[in-house]
Amino acid sequence: MMDSLYPVREGFSVAEQSAVVIANTAVNPEYRHLVVTAEPPATAALAGQFFHLLCPSSPDGNPFLRRPMSVYAVDAMRGRVEFLYKLMGAGTRGLAMLEPGDRLNMLGPLGKGFALDPAWKHIIVLGRGVGLATLAPLALMAERASVRVTAILSARRPDLVMSVDLFRARGAEVIVVNDADHSSEVGNVERLLRDLVARGRADAFFTCGSNRLLLLLQRLGNEHGIPGQVALEQQMACALGMCFCCVRDFHAPNGGVEHRRVCWEGPVFGLQEPLSW
């Protein structure tokens, strides 16, 4: 029920803020890029953390609950936070209505983000679909830590692959795979990964967005003793560890299966911990 690791602090590390929309533009037919103003503590958000957004009503409905969205980028100097979101239902379609100057109520930063071990020299980032939004800030984080990144970005069609330029700009090597030419099939991705492992480019795996890819990385990680991290998703209500809506199944230390809260113990977990994405 309570996480005894959590220290009682003087200040508050999470806040409900009324951000101002700076831009909200389509990046392809399914995804949009949202940039908003932000103050501390929002600007302290780390890669892998998320915000819980109060989405406006739209003709598609009145979203009652907030919607979790990963931090796509943070610029603490200019006071900005960015999101990359896929149009799904009432919440994201409500977000799509926001225009520059509109207000967005956001709660955050929330959850536990990615962590880079100083010993790692080369990491592999393997993402698909919405997962690319969550993984994107790893590019900057790795660059700052002088860690080399190979990013394998997967999507249904070539025009839906995102963040290629973002990763390249941070010095990452980018490999794009997609369903249209079958390059995204597990067999092919496994071949690419085994090649990178053989070339010593895989000190750690990072993934988000696909169950098949998680299972693949778990298998390879096990086989080669390569650690890693995975960001999970689950429906949320509170996003503060209070409601236990957002649990998923994890291997328990004692060998059984236990529930953990994606919003609180995660969304980033050790690669081998979850049973599935």
Binding site: R9, Q235, C238, M242
Partner: protein
């Protein structure tokens, strides 16, 4: 200066606003100052370890949400080792919500909780009674009477009994709780409900049905508070869809002495604090020096008088 203090079944609270069980945990300390709360009410604790229900556990509806969390529990040892020490660091009293499948189970938990740092017991009797047909204790006056009597014998702590809104006899159930020694009733838990995804033909909750909460239920639970207030003399804690100070005042006018806030905290994590500020402001504005004066202050005028009043207001 408004005196916000209230007395709930023998327990003094600095103000009448507290979280609803299952919608609050230490995580909220990242956002609000816990020392401002009237009390802490924690997620229902059971003796044994429990996993809770299958996912998905949440769905949204018009003006509310469904949950089917169930009662995942780390067990009573975890409560003593971790939860209790954590809350001892703060000023507000700790109300411990408990549940068990039998009256005996309730009683033994209550006895065990008679330790320093536990200020009151909230018996969540909306759970299935395994000794009868598996219906919740709180569905009938009879089952309520028996479990409350056992609880009363088992603890000297203030005993709050949380009712279910799913019964057709909530006033009788409240009477049964009062007659058997409850110090207060909490009205109420969630309303049993469901939702179906017409795209997949599947229930939106993993356990098919779940509990409805949030603004959508407010008029129903408010009515139940009103019915209970006319049936019993013990204190009533109102709980259902409260999101603003005005909502809290509405519950107090209907007969509640304090309120619990659940779902609203998911939408605005500062809701508890805002409601405290807003009821204080309301009292100031309306010239009440003590918040407790609001309890039961509903004006039930003669029919014609009400009618006329409305006309006058509408008139210009």
């Amino acid at each position: 200066m408004v005196d916000l203090a209230v007395d709930i079944g023998g327990l003094r609270l600095a103000n009448p606003v507290m979280p609803a069980s299952g919608t609050f945990s230490d995580g909220l300390a990242r956002v609000i100052d816990f020392n401002r709360l009237g009390a802490f009410v924690i997620k229902t604790v059971t003796r044994e370890l429990r996993a809770g229900n299958p996912t998905p556990r949440v769905a949204e509806t018009a003006g509310g949400m469904l949950n089917s969390i169930g009662i995942p529990s780390k067990g009573i040892d975890y409560f003593f080792d971790e939860t209790l020490p954590f809350y001892k660091r703060f000023k507000p009293p700790l109300v411990v919500s408990i549940s068990a499948p039998t009256a005996d189970g309730f009683a033994s938990l209550a006895t065990e909780l008679g330790v320093s740092g536990v200020a009151a017991i909230e018996a969540n009797i909306s759970c299935p009674n395994l000794e009868e047909d598996g219906r919740a204790f709180a569905m009938t006056p009879h089952a309520t009477a028996s479990v409350v009597a056992r609880l009363r014998a088992a603890t000297k702590l203030p005993l709050w009994v949380k009712l279910t809104p799913n019964t057709g006899d909530i006033a009788d159930v409240a009477r049964a709780a009062e007659a058997n020694g409850a110090d207060a009733v909490v009205v109420a838990n969630t309303i049993l409900a469901m939702s179906i995804d017409v795209a997949t033909f599947r229930p939106r909750l993993g356990s098919v049905t779940g509990g409805l909460s949030g603004p959508a239920v407010k008029p129903v639970i408010l009515r139940q508070v009103y019915q209970c207030a006319r049936a019993v003399k013990i204190d009533i804690v109102g709980c259902g869809g409260i999101a603003t100070g005005a909502d809290a005042v509405e519950y107090m006018l209907a007969g509640a002495s304090a309120v619990q806030i659940g779902t609203a905290t998911f939408i605005h994590p500062t809701a508890l604090i805002r409601v405290i500020d807003e009821i204080e402001e309301f009292c100031n504005h309306r010239g009440f020096s003590r918040i407790s004066a609001l309890t039961g202050a509903l004006m039930r005028a003669g029919v014609d008088e009400t009618d006329l009043e409305w006309r006058q207001e509408a008139g210009e």
